[in-house]
């Protein structure tokens, strides 16, 4: 059962949802800006957590419950905890921020522009599809997602699992102590 | 090296078996033991209403005794203060006036007798030092209080109740 069914009471629901979308979109941009502009890295991570939470709401608005909850668990619940964990251990604050050289600044600008170009390109490719009306509104539910993942996209799915496995092996290798030479 | 007395016991430490390494049987055993304890007799004593029986050689709060006629036994000789390892006892002696014979047994008596309960270790040496059998540690616990000065017990708290006749 989808939380927001788009079929009934068409126009009123759409307006409500659009208002909600604008609110959440504003919040996610606001908090992601705060991530960049806050001096204390721990604050940055906390704002990033809130940003991920707003993204979770976006997924729910798109009727992709599984993605929403996975975003919630994996990004908010696990990865951000690890980020916070490392930052708390390092105990960084405003004073210990190293001075950045001009080279790093230029590299950052170039990387940001590359991202911008990629995003614009992908939006141009998407331009012909209507963002409001999903063609298959039930696609985000667990059942359909599982069917799609294990039928049409079986090979990419399995390949990505191999990728994760290799990453895991690499992490274990890095973390393993060198045997001491006596 | 060989042990000379041969009384040394060597404890053999075997590697743990699989069942032991799983710990779950041991945890279950422990849980069973603690569960059994739920039904055992409770050891709690509800203190103010119920008191633990005290032993025969219990030493509690000091009391200054009176003789069979109700006169104070203490003669302020200071032996208890001298014997006290914690320096808890002080006193001021005074001479018995005429007309006070029914109050004090000897011609000399303790006008002030103070025990500092924060110093006292309840060893009972004052009891043993006393030649007049005037001090005994036969009272209850020393109660709690708020100020240090309130722990210096004077004669008002230490002397036995006068005889009723």
């Amino acid at each position: 059962m989808p939380i927001f069914s788009l079929k009934e009471n068409w126009s009123g629901k759409i307006i409500q949802l659009m208002n909600l979308f604008y609110l959440i979109a504003f919040l996610s941009i606001f908090f992601s800006l705060l991530v960049i502009f806050s001096k204390n890295p721990v604050y940055s991570v906390l704002y990033l957590i809130i940003t991920f939470f707003t993204l979770t709401i976006h997924y729910i608005l798109l009727n992709a419950q599984f993605l929403a909850i996975v975003n919630f668990i994996v990004y908010m619940g696990a990865i951000m905890v690890l980020f916070l964990f490392v930052l708390m251990l390092l105990n960084l604050n405003e004073d210990s921020e190293p001075m950045k050289s001009n080279l790093i600044k230029i590299a950052g600008v170039v990387a940001g522009l590359c991202l911008l170009v990629t995003l614009i390109g992908s939006f141009r490719a998407l331009a012909d599809s209507d963002p409001v009306i999903l063609k298959k509104p039930e696609i985000g539910l667990v059942k359909n997602l599982g069917k799609v993942l294990f039928n049409e996209f079986l090979l990419p799915f399995e390949v990505s699992s191999v990728l994760l496995l290799s990453a895991m092996v690499g992490a274990v290798l890095l973390a393993k102590k060198e045997p001491k030479k006596i | 090296m060989e042990s000379l007395s041969n009384r040394k016991k060597v404890i053999e430490q075997k590697p743990m078996t699989l069942a032991e390494r799983m710990y779950l049987p041991a945890i279950a055993k422990g849980l069973a033991i603690t569960f059994k304890h739920m039904f055992k007799k409770k050891e709690t004593i509800f203190y103010p209403e119920q008191e633990r029986p005290i032993s025969e050689n219990w030493r509690g709060l000091h009391s200054l005794k009176r003789d069979e006629n109700g006169k104070e036994r203490c003669t302020a000789c200071g032996l208890c203060a001298l014997a006290c390892p914690a320096e808890a006892i002080t006193m001021i002696a005074a001479e018995r006036k005429k007309g006070e014979e029914h109050l004090y047994r000897e011609e000399k008596y303790a006008a002030v007798y103070e025990v500092n309960m924060l110093r006292c270790i309840f060893c009972g040496l004052c009891e043993e030092a006393c030649p007049k059998e005037a001090i005994y540690l036969d009272g209850p616990f020393v109660g709690a209080d708020y100020l240090r000065k309130d722990f210096i017990y004077g004669k008002d708290k230490l002397v036995e109740e006068p005889l009723k006749s």
Partner: protein
């Protein structure tokens, strides 16, 4: 219809909140009573009959204590920590089906706040969020002990979440649904309880639940003899109370989750026989709620029973158990479950 729906859900939320708060309050008494009984004492017995009003006395004490906020701490996060801990503990019970629907004439009242089709994952997400309260509180205190406690809590929760998730996956392979309502409905009667097909999974789940709730033998984040009080060293008064309360609410919610996932939820033996005999369905539903509460109380008792029996793990033992034993075991459990499902498909059809 919309307004009635909102009112119905709101009332249900209020009831569940007050029940979980009440249960948590009396869990504090139960903890002390059970500890006392296991140690041959009687526990708190002065406030009211058998100490019945002890939780009120404790609560009043917490309220009237001085609220200390360390000057060098981060004030906003210092307050946000316990609030977040309490919040995440409370919202976990939203997807638990407390009973079959009640029917009054035409109106049907669902005894579940939200039947979302990813209910199990929602619980999992809320649990993984729960560590933020502890982490933020511990970090904001600006105290070495608090920070150590917070970091321990974080690493412990992350490690045990993996094993917990894997044990849930094996369960989901059996049930074929992520909705807690469906899972509860599947386990009607007594023989259909999931614990009979997933004993190993249940064992892993309950061990991980101990670790997630920071209960002994995994209470390293607040281990008193190494870290003073762990993450709540600097807390006092009501904020400390919020942290402690969150622990008991977590116990209540995890008890509810375990009974729903593995012990049939509101189902009890001979429930269908009672329905066939013509007992009113609402009565059966209420019996079911009582049975669910009974199961939850048993789990809470079990949590406390273990706490006062098993000593605390050492930190390296905790990590070894999580990563080297529980995770491989739960993966093995998934494989065994898969084989079992296939064998059942082929030979027992």
């Amino acid at each position: 219809m919309e307004l009635a729906f909102v009112i119905e859900k709101f009332a249900l939320v209020i009831v569940i909140f007050s029940v979980s708060l009440g249960v948590a309050a009396y869990s504090t008494l139960a903890e002390r009573k059970i500890a006392a009984y296991l140690q041959g004492r009687v526990g708190p017995a002065r406030a009211g009959w058998g100490g019945m009003f002890q939780p009120l006395a404790d609560g009043a004490k917490m309220f009237f204590k001085e609220e200390i906020i360390p000057t060098q701490s981060n004030h906003f996060l210092f307050i946000a920590g316990p609030s977040l801990a309490l919040l995440t503990a409370l919202i976990g019970s939203a997807v638990i089906p407390w009973g079959q629907p009640l029917t009054f004439g035409d109106t049907v009242i669902q005894l579940q706040v939200a039947d979302i089709n990813v209910g199990v994952l929602y619980i999992f997400g809320v649990v993984s969020l729960g560590v933020y309260g502890v982490m933020i509180g511990g970090w904001a205190s600006n105290n070495k002990f608090s920070l150590m406690g917070a970091i321990r809590a974080a690493s412990q929760n992350i490690s045990y979440e993996i094993a917990m998730g894997l044990s849930i996956i094996a369960l989901l392979m059996v049930t074929g649904s992520l909705s807690l309502k469906t899972i509860a409905e599947q386990q009607s009667g007594f023989v259909n309880w999931n614990v009979w097909v997933q004993p190993l999974g249940f064992l892993i789940f309950i061990i991980c639940a101990f670790a997630e709730c920071n209960r002994t033998p995994f209470d390293l984040p607040e281990s008193e003899n190494e870290l003073v009080g762990g993450y709540h060293t600097e807390y006092s008064g009501f904020k400390l109370g919020a942290f402690l309360f969150a622990e008991y609410i977590n116990m209540f919610v995890s008890g509810a989750v375990m009974s729903t996932l593995y012990f049939g939820g509101y189902n009890f033996p001979f429930m269908n026989n009672l329905l066939e005999m013509g007992v009113h369905p609402n009565l059966v539903t209420i019996l079911g709620i009582l049975f669910l509460l009974g199961k939850i109380f048993f789990f809470i008792f079990f949590f406390m029973w273990v706490r006062w029996t098993v000593p605390r793990f050492r930190y390296d033992q905790l990590m070894n158990l999580g990563w080297k034993i529980l995770i491989p075991l739960s993966i093995a459990n998934i494989v065994i479950t898969g084989i079992w499902i296939v064998v059942k498909e082929i030979y027992f059809k």
